[in-house]
């Protein structure tokens, strides 16, 4: 059975604290002012007469049909059998074709390694050691869930089959493996 690694960001639970951003930065040795993932606290929006924020994770969406790969002239981006898109820093010539092609702003020029880079679900760092990704490890609100969606016993599998998730629509059928749970807070609030 193939593995299919996915990441779920639960906007219900997320508190916009950026522990994920900071942990990723330190685990993946990024420059202090560069991040593979961030949380955009948007709003507040007026929903049913009440104000609410939206907590949007901004990172590589780990497309199943990645525009970045098709754009790279040097074959520096690869997708493994388990679906994870990762950047080969040695092959990258820094032409930024991938950055131009990616519809999410999910890849960026990493000054530390002098090549383009993305959130690779920590495949080359922690996951290779059998650990959870850095962001998932620290998230104080347990808002991030990572695992193999093809494994029926995995938490991500259970989540995807029981909780309503969505993918960010980014203009073409790229099939992201970053799933999101939309905030329910407005409808769950008791009417005053």
């Amino acid at each position: 059975m193939n593995e299919k690694f996915v990441l779920i960001h639960d906007e219900n639970r997320c508190i916009g604290c950026h522990a994920c951003t900071a942990a990723c930065n330190s685990a993946n040795e990024l420059a202090d002012h560069q991040n593979r993932a961030s949380i955009d606290v948007k709003g507040p929006y007026l929903i049913d007469g009440e104000l609410h924020y939206r907590y949007l994770r901004v990172s590589c969406e780990q497309c199943d049909r990645p525009a970045c790969i098709r754009a790279c002239p040097y074959g520096a981006i690869s997708q493994t059998i388990d679906g994870v898109v990762s950047f080969n820093h040695d092959r990258c010539k820094g032409c930024l074709m991938c950055v131009a092609a990616c519809p999410t702003g999910g890849c960026f020029y990493n000054k530390q390694v002098k090549a383009t880079d993305n959130c690779d679900f920590c495949m080359k760092s922690r996951v290779a050691e059998g650990l959870q990704p850095a962001c998932v490890t620290v998230c104080p609100a347990d808002a991030l869930i990572f695992g193999n969606a093809n494994d029926p016993n995995s938490e991500v599998h259970k989540h995807l089959s029981t909780v309503l998730t969505y993918n960010r629509s980014i203009g073409y059928d790229n099939k992201p493996k970053l799933y999101r749970v939309a905030s329910q807070v407005a409808s769950e609030r008791s009417r005053v």
Partner: protein
């Protein structure tokens, strides 16, 4: 893989134009890179804020990754953004790694690197001089709280000054004093099991306190809790709550008293609890009778109907319902009765030592007594005999009303008039440890004047903080990742201990604070008052009766003993008694309610406190007193915590600086339109004591009569190269005002704004 050397080299290359202050890591001619042994995991304690989460530091060759220690269940193995960024502090080229002495006027930024020995001699000479001339009372010692403060405070006692201050009066002292007066002890919240939570601007989702934040999340995840937030702005806490009431700043007390009014008037309170455990109920009830919801709604902008409904809902959920006492929280000069009023709601709900209510920490002494045997190890208190007795009383005891506050860490801000006006007597020297009054005490100009008026100032810090920049000598303290410390008590429902230990070799010429204060005492020929050899000796003295505790803690980092116990929960008491056959017999209700003891004059919970009458006439009964927090033409100015920074300590840390470099001012679009201010405009904010520049952030998430900013920004000292001048300095806008009894520095004031 990058080695630390490469990391630092690249790090400094990015800041090639930066000129590092002498003594900082970046200024050292060759970067000091110790060989870190390969270690997989070391358990320790975070120090990026005062919560002190147990952490596990994974170390791969010389690279550190910080996560939570899974042994500490209520912390969930989690850390916040600050916590996981500890390695950024460790490797920051701006951190101080060599003692420095001032060579120009105070605040000029002119420093010279010196050796430790010279620093100690300078300090000993100058402090001795102040002692000879004015007496030891003229030396103030202040420290942030936490384990490291104990050494600074001990140093103060050794030199014989009574003037020892924690940062409490600039942050959490209010609820601590209120709890002491009412219960004789502080209380903890059982958020996780609560069915109804009232929150008065305690933003647990931004001012993260990991176990409380996770407790609240767990309760919300179960879906059985209702959270009601009163806060003038839409914080993340307010966003995630079931109900958000945009209350008028500083008026929470009106809601609090009206809730008690309804609970009493409608006979919704726990009468048998009150009868058994409370003294002064009649006086309290008489006072509450005047505070109807209708009266409150006029003051605070929350509708009378809502207040009445919330009181009824609270009572229906009791005893698994609670009112959160808050944290850095001085909204009003009437803070004392606000916090007492919040505790009074808990008392009326009868939720003391109940699931979903509030409880006292079960330290080993109480726990073992109840168990009838020593089931949890106890720490020895290390006594030092023969310390000098101060001749004069503390400077903050000139007014007897501050008796409780003086015991709870003192009125930090009283150093300012003592330095400038010699009131009640002169303070001439200041020893600061990891404390930044230039940011945390109100009216920055006066704090600066006070520092300039001192004969001698020593600061011990990891950075040349805004306050350290005015010192004569700055001593570089090792970061928490480089030092061992004494064992700390982290008991909650059962006894627990935690240990901070070094996870990496020390960078540069820094020393841990236990060593610094011991060696300072040595230099003053007072070293015999620090009888322990080193911190290991200290730890061994702490565990003299339980020698196996120390090695266990070194391995696990956090250890808890026994099973959770709430004294008025019959289930839990039954389980406890099953576990410990020698346990005390229960009361006829099947619980330990009869064992509850309150160290107050009456031995009961004091809803009114006759003993207060002597030190503060008219204050024994909880009452409402009108206050003026702003002029009619002004806006309320309020502040709060961010999830990315701790008060005044982390603004310069790489990464955290990048994630939040400044503090834009929240303004309601209608208010902004009135002043022709657009989103992102530069604005000038003026209060009665200062004027500050900031950036406008237009948001619907704030009252029209209020502006908000996160605290800790706008440093005015060049030494904090990143944070310098970024954002608006809250302390420069807040006038000096002290709340009655609690002695806390008031954080709400009036301001005017205009486009810059």
């Amino acid at each position: 893989m990058l080695s630390r050397r490469d990391f630092l080299a690249k790090g400094s290359a990015f800041c090639a134009i930066t000129i590092y202050a002498p003594g900082t890591l970046g200024a050292q001619s060759q970067l000091l890179t110790p060989a870190t042994p390969f270690v997989k995991e070391i358990n320790s304690i975070c120090e990026m804020c005062s919560t002190r989460c147990p952490i596990t530091v994974e170390s791969r060759q010389d690279k550190l990754f910080i996560r939570g220690n899974l042994n500490a269940k209520s912390f969930g193995g989690k850390v916040c953004a600050r916590g996981t960024s500890g390695s950024k502090l460790l490797n920051d080229p701006h951190r101080l790694v060599k003692p420095i002495k001032r060579t120009g006027p105070r605040g000029s930024g002119m420093w010279q690197e010196i050796e430790w020995e010279e620093a100690y001699q300078l300090i000993a000479h100058n402090l001795n001089q102040v002692c000879d001339r004015y007496g030891p009372e003229a030396i103030a010692v202040s420290s942030k709280s936490g384990s490291l403060s104990s050494h600074a405070f001990h140093f103060g006692k050794v030199i014989g000054t009574p003037n020892i201050f924690s940062h409490g009066s600039t942050c959490p002292i209010s609820y601590a004093v209120a709890a002491k007066v009412m219960f004789g002890n502080e209380l903890k919240l059982d958020l996780e099991n609560s069915k109804y939570i009232l929150n008065f601007g305690h933003n647990l989702f931004e001012g993260i306190n990991m176990s409380m934040t996770r407790g609240l999340l767990a309760a919300q995840e179960k879906g059985a809790v209702k959270v009601v937030v009163f806060e003038p702005r839409l914080s993340v806490m307010a966003d995630k709550a079931d109900e958000w009431h945009a209350i008028k700043p500083g008026t929470d007390i009106a809601v609090v008293l009206a809730l008690s009014h309804v609970l009493i008037e409608e006979q919704l309170y726990d009468k048998s609890f009150v009868q058994q455990h409370v003294s002064g109920f009649e006086g309290f009830a008489t006072s509450m009778a005047q505070y109807s919801p209708e009266w409150a709604s006029e003051i605070c902008d929350v509708s009378a109907g809502d207040i009445r409904r919330i009181a009824r809902e609270l009572a229906a959920a009791a005893p698994a319902a609670l009112a959160d006492h808050g944290h850095r929280c001085t909204f009003t000069p009437e803070e004392f009765d606000l916090r007492r009023g919040i505790y009074a709601i808990n008392v009326l709900l009868g939720n003391i030592e109940r699931k979903g209510g509030v409880y006292f920490a079960k330290k080993s002494k109480l726990y073992n007594k109840l168990a009838g045997e020593a089931v949890a190890p106890s720490l020895e208190k290390i006594k030092v005999d023969g310390l000098p007795t101060p001749v004069l009383p503390r400077i903050d005891l000139a007014e007897p009303q501050f008796k409780y506050a003086a015991r709870a860490g003192g009125l930090y801000q009283s150093i300012i008039p003592a330095a400038l006006l010699q009131q009640p007597y002169a303070i001439k020297a200041w020893v600061m440890s990891r404390s930044n009054p230039m940011q945390t005490v109100t009216d920055r100009t006066q704090v600066q004047n006070a520092l300039e008026a001192m004969d001698f100032v020593v600061a011990c810090d990891v950075y040349i903080s805004e306050s350290a920049a005015y010192a004569d000598v700055v001593l570089p303290e090792s970061t928490y990742l480089e030092r061992d410390e004494e064992i700390g008590d982290m008991s909650s429902k059962n006894p627990a201990y935690a240990l901070r230990q070094r996870v990496t070799e020390t960078i540069g010429d820094t020393r841990p604070s236990w060593q610094i204060f011991k060696e300072m005492a040595d230099a003053m020929a007072l070293g015999h008052h620090f009888p322990w050899q080193d911190i290991v000796d200290y730890q061994q003295r702490q565990t003299a009766n339980n020698p196996e505790l120390l090695p266990q803690l070194r391995k696990e980092g956090f250890l808890s003993f026994g099973i959770p116990l709430l004294m008025r929960e019959p289930d839990m008491v039954a389980k406890f008694r099953q576990h410990y056959p020698n346990a005390q017999p229960p009361s006829e209700r099947g619980d330990y309610g009869n064992q509850l003891q309150f160290s107050t004059p009456s031995g009961k919970i004091e809803l009114t406190s006759p003993s207060l009458e002597e030190i503060a006439p008219g204050r024994s009964v909880i009452s409402y007193r009108p206050v003026t927090l702003k002029q009619p033409n002004e806006l309320y100015f309020i502040q709060g915590k961010s999830a990315l920074h701790t008060n005044a300590a982390t603004q310069n840390i790489p990464l955290l600086f990048d994630l939040q470099p400044d503090n834009p001012v929240w303004i309601h679009p209608d208010t902004a339109a009135e002043f022709r201010i657009n989103d992102g405009d530069s604005i000038t904010m003026t209060s009665q004591v200062g004027e500050e520049q900031g950036t406008a952030k237009l948001t619907l998430g704030i009252r029209k009569d209020t502006v908000f900013a996160h605290m800790g920004f706008g440093s005015k000292n060049q030494e904090l190269t990143r944070a310098f001048g970024k954002g608006l300095h809250c302390g420069a806008l807040l006038p000096d005002a002290t709340a009655a009894i609690t002695g806390s520095n008031v954080h709400t004031t009036g301001v005017t704004i205009r486009r810059a």
